[in-house]
């Protein structure tokens, strides 16, 4: 039996921090303050640093699962969570496909080195987008019946001899063994309509090459995903019996990542916020907000407006967890067996999980001051559009990189503070939760928000009030030395190696 190691005494004065999980290479980079400050000086604040090499580790976590279960198929890297060109260029070197969700992003990934047979087009599509996909023979993940009709029509207009390659996105999953409270959604074709659609596809099998069904459930509920796999499998089998030859099932994305350094610390931090909401301790959220929680007669009600920073399964581990569950509908086989033994390929569309630890956002501290009500504010030369996402607020404290070393550190308990932005607008709060750092940041220091590549660094960035959007710089290690290039000029392999060696 374990010895007493993690006994937790409750003390009202304890302040819990929320530190981010940091990749070793990112930590090494932050530990070279001269370079960090130089780059911020050279490219301005804020500045996004991209670590393209880290995509390999994320990819491996999924590939290992394919190997473990002897599954065939394709990993489609979902490119939409980050606009970095360097990441796409690096990704193009690996054995993966890529998932694009607009006509322009299709151009973008082709320019970065992805050939059409590796690309899958998702999202709502106008006719321009469909035309381009058909001309380039790109796999189209169909969202609705009108889109399927457009595909058929435009293919005719183009006079194409080859079939249009499509997958069909499903929605409306159900299972006799459990009750779903219906949650509404905008994407996909309802499973009830699929039998009729299969007949339609059978009649047009010379025009449309039906590859299989797909779904994408973003809320990370595992049971619903498993039911979706079962429903998709049942419909694929139905399609096979009707004479179609579907080859694959696309189970989409939704593989979480770990943001918090320590799961217990995260739990304690959230508990600290809840306690502050019902007035047991002083405010932990700007302007008495509760980040979704409210005080209802001394009980916390409401839901978090931030993501789970420490989910129980992450990246490939989440995929492994799903595939190892057993399906009562199919004789209690594992979902991996169900897919493999029916000779189906498994397609997945990880986005966030492929970008884990691939980017950070740097910003310079401009000033410190007190708010109207006496809270300590740290002003950053950035705004909330540079570090923001609609639904996945990251609460982790940024890492502080002081301008000079040897400064007297102000102890943690003394005071928490809030990071605010440079917009001439009162809502420009960078993080709404109170931050406790090693020391209080001062003008000229740089702070680094960790793990911002997926959905945070540039998903909502804008030139509000004519502040320019952040530049991106790719950073990597070569022979234990940091190298950098602008995101535009980054090359995934060193094709100028010989020229460099000539100098030595």
């Amino acid at each position: 039996m374990a010895v007493v190691a993690n006994l937790r005494q409750a003390q009202a004065t304890d302040i819990v921090r929320l530190r981010p999980l940091i990749h070793d290479t990112v930590q090494d980079f932050l530990d070279t303050p001269e370079l960090v400050h130089q780059l911020v000086q050279g490219f301005g604040s804020p500045l996004n640093i991209i670590f393209p090499d880290h995509i390999a580790e994320n990819l491996k976590s999924f590939q290992d699962v394919y190997r473990k279960y002897s599954l065939k198929g394709r990993i489609y890297f979902t490119s939409k969570p980050c606009k970095s060109k360097a990441i796409i260029r690096k990704a193009s070197l690996y054995d993966i496909g890529i998932d694009v969700s607009s006509s322009e992003s299709l151009n973008h990934v082709m320019a970065a080195g992805f050939s059409p047979e590796r690309i899958e087009a998702t999202g709502p599509k106008n006719n321009d987008y469909i035309l381009k996909c058909l001309q380039l023979d790109i796999l189209i993940n169909v969202d609705n019946i009108a889109e399927l009709q457009s595909i058929q029509k435009i293919r005719h207009q183009l006079g194409l001899l080859r079939k249009a390659r499509v997958m069909i996105r499903l929605t409306g999953f159900s299972s006799p063994r459990m009750h779903f409270t219906p949650q509404d959604g905008t994407f996909g074709i309802h499973t009830k309509e699929i039998p009729a659609l299969i007949d339609w596809l059978v009649a047009r099998r010379d025009e449309i090459d039906f590859k299989g069904f797909s779904f994408h459930l973003t809320d990370m509920n595992e049971q619903q995903k498993l039911v979706a796999i079962e429903n998709a499998a049942q419909l694929i089998f139905h399609a096979i019996q009707k004479g179609l030859q579907p080859k694959a099932m696309n189970i989409g994305g939704g593989y979480p990542i770990q943001y918090a350094k320590d799961t217990n610390e995260y739990d304690e931090y959230i508990e600290q916020i809840k306690k502050s909401v019902i007035g047991k301790i002083e405010n932990q959220v700007w302007n008495d907000g509760g980040l979704g929680y409210k005080d209802h007669h001394g009980v916390v009600v409401g839901g978090p407006l931030f993501m789970n920073h420490a989910p129980p399964h992450t990246k490939g581990g989440m995929l492994d967890h799903l595939l190892s569950q057993r399906s009562p509908v199919f004789g209690n086989v594992t979902y991996a067996d169900l897919i493999r033994d029916n000779l189906l390929e498994l397609y997945i569309e990880p986005g966030r999980a492929m970008l884990d630890q691939c980017g950070i956002t740097l910003a310079r501290v401009t000033h410190t001051k007190n708010s109207t009500n006496g809270e300590l504010l740290i002003g950053l030369d950035m705004n909330r559009s540079n570090n923001h996402s609609q639904n996945i607020k990251n609460l982790c404290e940024p890492v502080l990189i002081p301008r000079c070393t040897g400064r007297q550190a102000i102890p943690l308990q003394t005071r928490g503070f809030y990071y605010v932005g440079h917009l001439c607008l009162s809502y420009d709060i960078i993080q709404y939760n109170k931050i406790y750092s090693d020391q209080i940041p001062q003008a000229g220091d740089v702070v680094a928000f960790i793990n911002t590549a997926p959905y945070i660094m540039d998903f909502t960035e804008s030139e509000t009030l004519m502040h320019p959007v952040a530049e991106k710089v790719a950073v990597w290690k070569e022979n234990n030395q940091f190298k950098w290039a602008t995101d535009q000029k980054y090359l995934p392999i060193n094709i100028y190696d010989e020229a460099e060696n000539d100098c030595q």
């Binding site: 937790r8 409270t181 096979i240 799961t263 739990d267 809840k274 009980v299 916390v300 839901g303």
Partner: protein, 437 residues
């Protein structure tokens, strides 16, 4: 002893004094409050009874249905009591994680509505939370639903204060340490309040699951602030236990004390021992500690099978499958390429093709004249003995040619003429497509 109703047997449970040889405590007497001896098998019999006993006549007269959100024990108790009184009960809960709890409720005739996507415990932050859904249903059908609401019902702690706590105080007098796992926190709060009336220095320790560990019936500290009953100031400290700790604790009570209790009792015991053993070393006077034995062992068989399969393992035969190590050095020696299958079968009249995929996969696509023996059956069939005639050639088939290769190798080790389809059905089907094209 003659009783009229099973509910007459709720409460008045004994305290078992644990042997110091088992606990290893020199200065602390550790008592187990045997709540598992309640008639329906858990401490929740009291909670359920407390919540409905005064209103049973009214519920029955108005033909109301009792609704509750429970992961197991409360639902079971409520169903048993409702059944005795001819009242309908409906359980609305997150998907059952403990198979046997659900099965027992099915045997008792409960209506069960499982909500996918709901948290296991009361979580008002979730729109698909059972608590919220029941409240909404109750509002839309006024007068039809009696929602007991164990997470907010103050009858829950009050009854434990009046009975469970009272019994302990009566039997032991002064108690120094009280250890209990936190679920609704109703029993902890009630018992702790009662014991503090006699001894205000009582230290109450809440047992919570460590990190993401799943201990049935227990919730983590973070969720506590959403319970209407939780009073943080009541607790001296909180002690996290792992699944392994809980199981180890349970096995100690099962095997050494004759207490056939479940997982949460194991968590309490394990937490109590870990917490108390350091304190025990510093003591110079005798102290008294109590923990709750919440429920019984039977409903946790699958929980244990999943986490401790070693407990259930049977003796292993010689030549057993589990001992077989594939010899990978010689490569795929017994593989038959998909395009050679027809030829091989024609040349070997005494051959048989066995597809070891599931029946469903087999029915969808199969090789003519092959037979299906799903892997689970196949493994049992060949484990430790070769069931095939000496001159028969056996060709195994799976999806990708991996498992078939492994089992062909194993059958060879038993003296069977085994082969397998290289690349599996995937390769075979590709070959068929080429032929068709």
């Amino acid at each position: 002893m003659i009783v009229n109703k099973m509910t007459d047997l709720i409460g008045n449970t004994p305290l078992l004094k644990l042997d110091a040889e088992v606990t290893g405590l020199k200065n602390i007497d550790l008592y187990a409050k045997m709540e598992m001896l309640n008639p329906f098998g858990s401490v929740k019999d009291r909670t359920a009874w407390a919540m409905i006993k005064d209103d049973l006549a009214e519920i029955k007269a108005k033909n109301m249905t009792i609704y509750e959100n429970s992961s197991g024990n409360t639902g079971k108790s409520l169903q048993a009591i409702a059944g005795m009184h001819g009242i309908k009960f409906r359980l609305v809960s997150a998907l059952s994680k403990v198979e046997e709890q659900k099965q027992v409720m099915q045997i008792l005739g409960a209506e069960i509505e499982e909500i996918a996507g709901a948290s296991d415990c009361f979580d008002p932050s979730d729109n698909y939370d059972p608590q919220y859904l029941i409240e909404r249903t109750a509002r839309s059908r006024p007068g039809e639903i009696y929602f007991t609401s164990q997470f907010t019902n103050l009858k829950n702690p009050a009854y434990h204060e009046a009975t469970t706590g009272e019994e302990i105080a009566r039997d032991l007098g002064r108690v120094d340490y009280f250890v209990n796992a936190l679920g609704t926190t109703g029993s902890s709060l009630g018992i702790s309040r009662r014991l503090k009336r006699d001894h205000s220095d009582l230290k109450t320790i809440g047992i919570v699951p460590s990190g993401h560990h799943f201990v049935p019936g227990i919730r983590n500290l973070n969720q506590m602030w959403e319970s209407g009953i939780f009073e943080r100031s009541e607790y001296d400290s909180f002690f996290p236990v792992t699944e392994q700790d809980a199981i180890d604790g349970m096995l100690t009570l099962n095997r050494r004390c004759g207490v056939l209790c479940g997982i949460s009792a194991g968590a309490n015991y394990s937490g109590a021992i870990q917490y108390l053993s350091d304190i025990d070393k510093t003591l110079t006077e005798r102290k008294t500690a109590v923990f709750i034995v919440c429920d019984r062992m039977e409903w946790y068989v699958s929980y244990l099978k999943e986490r401790r399969p070693d407990i259930f393992s049977e003796p292993v035969k010689e030549n057993a499958l589990t001992h077989y190590v594939a010899d990978l050095s010689s490569g795929d020696m017994y593989g038959i390429e998909a395009n050679e299958m027809d030829h091989f079968i024609t040349q070997n009249s005494n051959s048989i093709m066995i597809d070891i995929r599931s029946a469903q996969s087999f029915s969808l696509v199969n090789i003519p004249h092959s037979m299906n023996m799903p892997l689970e059956l196949f493994q049992k069939w060949i484990d430790g003995q070769n069931p095939f005639p000496a001159d028969m050639k056996v060709i195994l088939i799976c999806a990708v040619g991996e498992k078939s290769g492994f089992y062909a190798g194993y059958l060879r080790s038993l003296g069977c003429h085994a082969y397998h389809l290289s690349g599996g059905m995937g390769a075979w089907r590709e070959g068929q497509c080429l032929l068709a094209a």
